[in-house]
Structure formats: structure tokens, C-alpha cells
């Protein structure tokens, strides 16, 4: 069990930028997407993207584990 790799941590920071730090840029009503205010749509989009980021980080960690086992 080694600490998370730098690459995996960097991937984990992406959702923080997308959903949290960038709020002044997406906290708007227009343009509405699928009838939803833009901020609500943006967060929905990032919930899905965050799940994707975690899948990617998991891939990175798995590969590293397999690499060190060899």
C-alpha cells in the first residue's frame, strides 16, 4: 500500500476546479440547457465528469500496483 501517486492526485483536483473554484464563471441562469438554469446544468455535468475522473484515477493506481508487483 503506497500513498496515492501524483498523477492520481492531480486527476482528483480536476473536479474541485470544475465544481467549486470556478463558481464565478458558471453561476448564471443563462444560457439554459435542457430547460435547466446554467449553474444547475453545469453541476449535473460535473457529477458525471467527476465519476469519470475517479474511474481514470483508479486506472492509474491499478496500473501502478500491477507495475510494482512485476
Amino acid at each position: 500500500m503506497r500513498r496515492p501517486s501524483a498523477l492520481a492526485v492531480a486527476i482528483g483536483l480536476i473536479p474541485f476546479v470544475g465544481m467549486c473554484l470556478s463558481v464565478p464563471w458558471w453561476d448564471r441562469i443563462t444560457p439554459m440547457v435542457f430547460g435547466l438554469p446554467f449553474n444547475l446544468f453545469w453541476l449535473i455535468l460535473w457529477i458525471v465528469l467527476s465519476s469519470g475522473c475517479m474511474a481514470l484515477a483508479n486506472r492509474v493506481e491499478e496500473r501502478r500496483k500491477r507495475g510494482s508487483a512485476l
Binding site: 500513498r3 430547460g35 435547466l36 460535473w46
Partner: protein, 490 residues
């Protein structure tokens, strides 16, 4: 039959089915402390997912989120962001906590602090404040249950009586069932809650406005500032959003019960995969927020926003379906309340009472004491819920500001060998002091920032600086035992 009788019967039936399932799941197993409190470390991906969703999607998500969308507007979006990011953080810490738990037989959060920092005092501090800060969380569930019964009975059953019935049921359920029972009831709860969320979030906009798009166009025209931050508040702007989301995401797994849930997993891998699938569950919150926004137009003028979702349901659906929604709500209060009671009482018996008063106590006696504590805690939180008038989200934010102060001790403890007991104790105490000062004097948010966030930043700084100026301690829980042995050989 009057609508209130129909609605209440349906709620009662759902709660009954949930309790029976719970009792059956727990029956026939040998109930030692490890089985009762962490189900013998046996949960795989599906069960873990259900349990974690079970403790996160509480009455707070159900009534509190719609309540904030109704009364505050835009700031309610913080809930979607922090839950998702809380799972992201879990990916980087829970597998490690699990691994150390397996190697060193840890069962609770304070076991971790005791073994990592070789400090009984620090462990005691963490357990004590852990139990203190889950009380507002428990209170949220009881207050929510009270609201549900009040609305579903068309104001015929007083809130206090319903809270008393609910709290007794939860206590009995925990007493006889244990963690496995709770996870099973989570299954029913999640199914019903998704059904309720979808039916309200989809049917309501269709029925009243002809779709989600006209709903939001109407809202944007009539309440142009409500949908963005700071919404109906003066202080909850973007700085508040960022600081609150970071604070709550860090605190997500610092609750004694969420931290403890990591130990129920079958492997660290389970927890990693859990962090991939669980964010998607946050999507169900979208429907609940939509319901809260719709309620602003359909049932305006409520003094308590937390009632908005149920008032909307009562106005829109037949009584039996109000009962289904109320039953879902009742289980979303009871499952987390049960998990919290279970964890807090184990923590109290094992990590506060035993070291202080009776070090010679056997595991079996600790288990019995923990069960007795369930009843005491249940009654204590009932007493508090009777006298409190805070909204659900306000209670949650208070608890989060408190438990997040454990975060530096956990993260640095896992990944920074230099951190020591002095540093963590100093950081924890200064963080808690700032929280107490700012929150009790009603200065949260402080200059636009979440008070708990400021305390967390200070806590980190104090922990690191104090650790650096005091003598180093060796780390008794290194992540990679093999590698360290290997390194010395090489």
C-alpha cells in the same frame, strides 16, 4: 377514511416493513461487538454502496435540500457540489484507513487516533467531540421525522408525539439489529427515496407548468435573483460557496459514523470503486432541488422552508401517495439515525467510558454498555429536538464545522510521518475554539467565508507548525510495512 388516516397508515406500514426486514437480517448471527458495530468487516461493493448512500442521503438531503432551494435559492447548489467532492476525497483516504484498520484491528475513528499518535488523551478528545457533534445530526433526523408526521397527518398528530414514537422505534431497531440490519433497511429506503424524488421532481413541473423548462423560465422571470448565489440571502455568495464546499467535502468522512463505515468494507479496492459509482447517486438530488424551486411558485409563503417538499406533495398527490413519500422520508430519517446511534454508542462505550472508568472491561461488557448507551443517546437527542428551532441545514453546518477539525489529524497522520500528537492536539483545540467563538456569537459566515473553513485552515497551520517545533515521534502505523523493511535491506 380521511386523507390523514390513509397517509398515516401507509407511512406506518412502510416503517413496519422496514423494521421487520431489519430484525430478520440481524437474527441468527452471533452478536459480538465487531458484528454488531461493523458487521464483521464483510461488506462488498453493493452493500457498501447502499450503506454509504444510506448514511449520506438523510432527511437533510430530502427535506433540508428542498427547504434551502425554497428559502435560499442558489446557495442550495452547494449540496450537490460538496457531496460529489466528498466522494472524490474518499478515494484518496478511505482505502488507506481501511488497510490500517485491518492490520491493526481498528474499529472506530478514535482507535485510529490512539494507535497512530500513541495518545490516549487525543483519542479521548476525538471520541468526546465526535459524540458531541453527531448530536445535531441526530437532531436533524428527529426534527425531520416530526415534520413528516405533522404534514402527513394534516396537522392532527403533534410533532413531539411523533418524534417520541420514532426515536423509540429507532433505538429498538439498533438495539436488536446492529449494522447488518441497518444496511438491509437502506435497500428499501433508497428504492423508496428514488421513487419519491423522481415522482415529485418530474411530475410536479409537468403537472403545473408543462415541463422543467417552463418552470425555470417562469422562475427566472418572477424571481430573477433566486436561482443564482447569493439567492435570497445576503451573505452566501461565491466565497461562501467555495469555502463551504471545501469544508464539507473534507468533513464528509470525518463523522464518526462515516469514518467507521470504511471499516465495514471487504477490501480497500471496494472503497475505491465505491468512490467511482457513488457520485452518480447525487443526481437524485437534482429532482429534490427542482421540487424545492417549484414549491416556491406553488406553495409560497411557508415560514419553515423545510416543510416545502411535503406541502407540495400534499397539495399535488392523493393521500396514499403522500403516505409513500412520507414513508420514504421516515426511513431516510431512521436509517441514518440508527447508524449514528450505533457508532456514537460504540465510540462512547469503547473509547470514552472504558479508558476513563473501567479499563478491565471485557469486549462483551463493552457491547452491553454500548447497547445501553443507545437508549441514553436517543433520549438525549429527543430532548434537544424538542427545544430546538434551527433549520435542518443550519444544524448540519454546525456539525460539519466541528467534525471537519479531525481532518488534518487524519490526512497528515496517513501521509506525513513528521506529524505528532502535540501538533494534532494543538490544531484540533484551536480549530474547535474558532468554531465555537464564531458560531456561538452568530458570526458565520465571517466576512463572506464559512466559519468552519477558517477554523480548518488555522487548524492545519497550527498542526504543522507545532509538529515541526516539537520532538518527532515514530509512526506506528506506516502505510507500507513491506516497503520500509525492503528499503532498510536495500
Amino acid at each position: 377514511m380521511t386523507p390523514s388516516v390513509v397517509a398515516m397508515s401507509v407511512i406506518f406500514f412502510i416503517v413496519l416493513v422496514g423494521s421487520v426486514v431489519g430484525f430478520c437480517a440481524g437474527a441468527g448471527r452471533k452478536m459480538d461487538l465487531e458484528e454488531w458495530s461493523i458487521a464483521g468487516r464483510s461488506f462488498g461493493l453493493l452493500f457498501m454502496w447502499l450503506l454509504m448512500a444510506g448514511e449520506i442521503y438523510t432527511t437533510f438531503a430530502f427535506l433540508g435540500a428542498s427547504g434551502w432551494a425554497y428559502s435560499r435559492g442558489g446557495p442550495a447548489l452547494y449540496i450537490m457540489a460538496y457531496i460529489t467532492l466528498g466522494y472524490v476525497i474518499s478515494f484518496y483516504i478511505l482505502p488507506y484507513i481501511w488497510e490500517l484498520g485491518r492490520r491493526h484491528g481498528l474499529q472506530t475513528q478514535s482507535d485510529f487516533f490512539e494507535k497512530r499518535y500513541r495518545s490516549k488523551g487525543l483519542a479521548l478528545l476525538v471520541s468526546f467531540f465526535g459524540v458531541i457533534f453527531v448530536i445535531p445530526y441526530l437532531q436533524i433526523q428527529l426534527t425531520g421525522l416530526g415534520i413528516i408526521v405533522q404534514v402527513a397527518s394534516f396537522d392532527q398528530i403533534p410533532r413531539n408525539a411523533s418524534m417520541l414514537i420514532a426515536v423509540s422505534l429507532v433505538a429498538l431497531f439498533v438495539f436488536f439489529g446492529g449494522m447488518r440490519a441497518v444496511a438491509w433497511v437502506s435497500v428499501i429506503k433508497d428504492f423508496l427515496m428514488i421513487l419519491a424524488a423522481l415522482s415529485i421532481g418530474i411530475y410536479v413541473p409537468l403537472h403545473y407548468f408543462g415541463g422543467v423548462s417552463p418552470l425555470f423560465h417562469t422562475l427566472a422571470a418572477t424571481h430573477p435573483t433566486h436561482l443564482v448565489m447569493p439567492g435570497a440571502t445576503k451573505t452566501m455568495g461565491h466565497a461562501w460557496f467555495i469555502s463551504t464546499v471545501i469544508l464539507s467535502a473534507c468533513g464528509f468522512y470525518m463523522w464518526p459514523h462515516t469514518f467507521g463505515a470504511a471499516f465495514t468494507a471487504k477490501s480497500g479496492e471496494t472503497l475505491r470503486r465505491n468512490a467511482i459509482v457513488t457520485p452518480l447517486y447525487t443526481l437524485s438530488l437534482v429532482f429534490i432541488l427542482i421540487a424545492g424551486f417549484a414549491a416556491l411558485l406553488i406553495v409560497p409563503g411557508l415560514t419553515n422552508g423545510d416543510m416545502s417538499l411535503l406541502m407540495l406533495a400534499r397539495k399535488t398527490f392523493p393521500a396514499w401517495f403522500l403516505g409513500v413519500i412520507g414513508g420514504a422520508g421516515a426511513l431516510t430519517a431512521m436509517v441514518p439515525a440508527a447508524i449514528i446511534l450505533l457508532t456514537a454508542s460504540t465510540l462512547f462505550a469503547k473509547n470514552v467510558f472504558r479508558p476513563l472508568f473501567a479499563p478491565q472491561l471485557t469486549e462483551d461488557s463493552v457491547a452491553r454498555l454500548a447497547k445501553a448507551t443507545v437508549l441514553v443517546l436517543a433520549m438525549a437527542s429527543f430532548g434537544l429536538a424538542l427545544h430546538s428551532s434551527s433549520t435542518l441545514v443550519a444544524l448540519l453546518l454546525l456539525g460539519y464545522a466541528g467534525v471537519t477539525q479531525f481532518f488534518p489529524g487524519v490526512v497528515l497522520g496517513l501521509f506525513w510521518p513528521r506529524v505528532n500528537a502535540f501538533g494534532v492536539a494543538a490544531g484540533l483545540v484551536s480549530g474547535l475554539l474558532v468554531v465555537a467563538m464564531l458560531m456561538l456569537s452568530h458570526r458565520d459566515p465571517f466576512h463572506g467565508l464559512n466559519a468552519g473553513f477558517l477554523a480548518l485552515v488555522l487548524n492545519f497551520v497550527v498542526t504543522v507548525l507545532t509538529s515541526l517545533v516539537t520532538p518527532a515521534q515514530s509512526n506506528p502505523l506506516p502505510l507500507n510495512e513491506e516497503a520500509e523493511l525492503g528499503a532498510s535491506v536495500r
